[in-house]
Subunit: 355 residues, 2 copies
């Protein structure tokens, strides 16, 4: 039986391990704390279209290809646990000023050229869909295919899937890939991957989020994922069964997962600018993680050498990227490649060197 080491037990590592085990590999995940990294901190937005922008065609196409796989992938997760991981079906990006409203039209046009149908809403159209939003909201962009999932439910379902498929978990930190004796290795250690493959262009991008719980008397969470820009900062509100996840700050801060006072202050202020009644919610949790950032906002998915495949660098879109990453890594382990993931090959950063 072919043996596979998966270094890193976030959503990427777990999902890759699960698929490989089902394909006949003897899989061992190495992670000192499975599911406790950026996957646990995430909000679970699946919104590559709403984040689209002219010039970023490759990122849009890659994200859209993964989004298209999510319904089926979500069903596989549901089959494992018996519960859906989906928390919202649509995404609504709102504009608080004229410049933002113009941007929404730009995004809609750009997505249209790539075959995705987003719809610009006026003030009344937004209010009809989400009556609790601030009266300052002047326009919206409705994306009917961009859903959101509960990232922690995804982690739990993937762990369950791995368990059932016979994946072994070793709670240890790998210091050198040469210490591993498996036939093949998938390097999926997120921002920590660079320490295991010198020169790999992945770095930690710190992000803080808040988890808020609805209290008696407070209005219900929005039905859509709500995205906005406030004082030039991106903010999003992702519904949960019992509340809202608010994200996210973004800092180049090295490996630092301390939540800052300034981060909490800004997230609350920006979220209240969009949904004024949020003050009545319970402040349940503030947490920070290190996203694995790449230089061009596409992940690093490809062969590093004959033995090692890398799957990291998903940045803010790790949850979104799970299904396509699973397919791409499965192809790579079979000696094949997945066309839709070609833009993510780490060789794009190579100047004839190691990769």
């Amino acid at each position: 039986m072919r043996t596979l080491a998966v270094v890193g037990g976030g959503v990427i590592g777990l999902a890759v391990a699960w698929r490989a085990a089902e394909s006949g590999w003897a899989v061992t995940i190495f992670d000192p704390e499975v599911g406790a990294g950026a996957s646990w901190v995430a909000a679970g937005m699946l919104a590559p279209l709403s984040e689209g922008w002219p010039g970023e065609e490759a990122a849009l196409d890659f994200g859209a290809a993964s989004l298209a796989r999510w319904p089926e992938f979500g069903e596989r997760l549901r089959a494992v646990t018996g519960r859906s991981v989906v928390v919202a079906d649509h995404t609504l990006t709102v504009a608080l000023d004229a410049a933002d409203a113009a941007d929404l039209r730009t995004i809609a046009e750009f997505c249209g050229t790539r075959g995705h149908d987003l719809r610009v809403l006026d003030r009344a159209g937004v209010r009809e869909r989400e009556p609790e939003l601030a009266r300052t909201v002047r326009a919206g962009l409705l994306s009917p295919t961009e859903s959101a999932v509960d990232n922690r439910a995804v982690v739990a379902a993937l762990r369950e899937g791995c368990d059932r498929a016979g994946v072994a978990v070793r709670a240890q930190r790998v210091k050198d890939l040469a210490d591993l004796d498996q036939d093949r290795i998938v390097l999926a250690a997120g921002a920590a991957s660079a320490a295991l493959w010198p020169g790999l262009p992945v770095r930690p991008v710190k992000g803080e989020i808040l988890r808020l719980r609805r209290r008696p008397g407070a209005p219900p969470p929005p039905r859509h994922v709500i995205r906005a820009r406030v004082h030039g900062r991106a903010v999003y509100l992702v519904p949960r069964a019992d509340g809202i996840v608010v994200g996210a700050t973004q800092y180049e801060a090295g490996f630092d997962t301390a939540v800052t006072v300034a981060g909490v202050r800004d997230l609350i202020a920006d979220a209240e600018a969009v949904l004024p009644a949020l003050g009545e919610y319970e402040f349940a949790e503030a947490i920070a993680g290190s996203r694995p950032g790449s230089p061009d906002n596409l992940p690093l998915l490809g062969r590093l050498d004959d033995r090692v495949v890398v799957a990291t660098g998903h940045g803010r879109n790790g949850i979104l990227g799970v299904p396509i990453t699973v397919d791409a890594v499965a192809a790579l382990l079979d000696g094949d490649t997945l066309g839709e993931a070609k833009a993510a090959d780490p060789q794009r950063f190579s100047s004839g060197g190691r990769t």
Copy 2:
């Protein structure tokens, strides 16, 4: 051996139990979770003078009498654990506008008439003592005798003292004082005491606080306790070895210990108005508790009947009130009364009824 039940294991119950055990009582504390209530949430300010106001002579005198006992009481705690519980020696109340500055002079004059010497500082005097405060601070009131203690260290030391003195702890909620078979009872269940003695005028007053941790590069915590009023709301910053405790909101919300988004938002905003660099601190904890409020901001300290002594209703000043409460309850258990605690006798609310 005389037996004593102490209902409630906050700082009041623990301290009373400790003293009684040392005086020869066989003491049992009843509390489902010792030290986990308002005592754990508190900031540990000992500032009855800075909170003084003309017309509130009884509260000032009661608080001052307990403050005067704190140095010796603190030494007793230090003797138990080997570590001081003191986190600041002085309190500095600052004014951000002309009205607040006038209030500081009123407080200084009032305290002067009661024999307490507080000193009004100008802008430069404040800056010299606390250079990190906002430049908008225009005056200060320095109180050289009002210190602050680490409330959680106080809880730990009291538990240790109780252990050594042979106090028994039963992790159970008392539903009816008639269920207890001890000779005497001290009712020290904080805001929950009213449920055990119908008509007792004590109610929960919700309070939220933040615990912030200094991060590398952030300025150190202030050396004084800093108190201020921002947008009409009281805010205080109490130093800790590794950070700052920021308090506190105040709501009439029944028994509710959920931290709200609005509470966190206001505490951060008010604290940053006083100490702008606070944004760089780590947001380590947000927690809420139910203070035991009384109608007149004096506690309820006295005999309820031949068997039951009450010690609750300390409101925002439970930590401050511990030493005088211990002395008062010891006197009551001996059939005596403590003159300085006379104003706190619950009979003041009695119209010839049960008490």
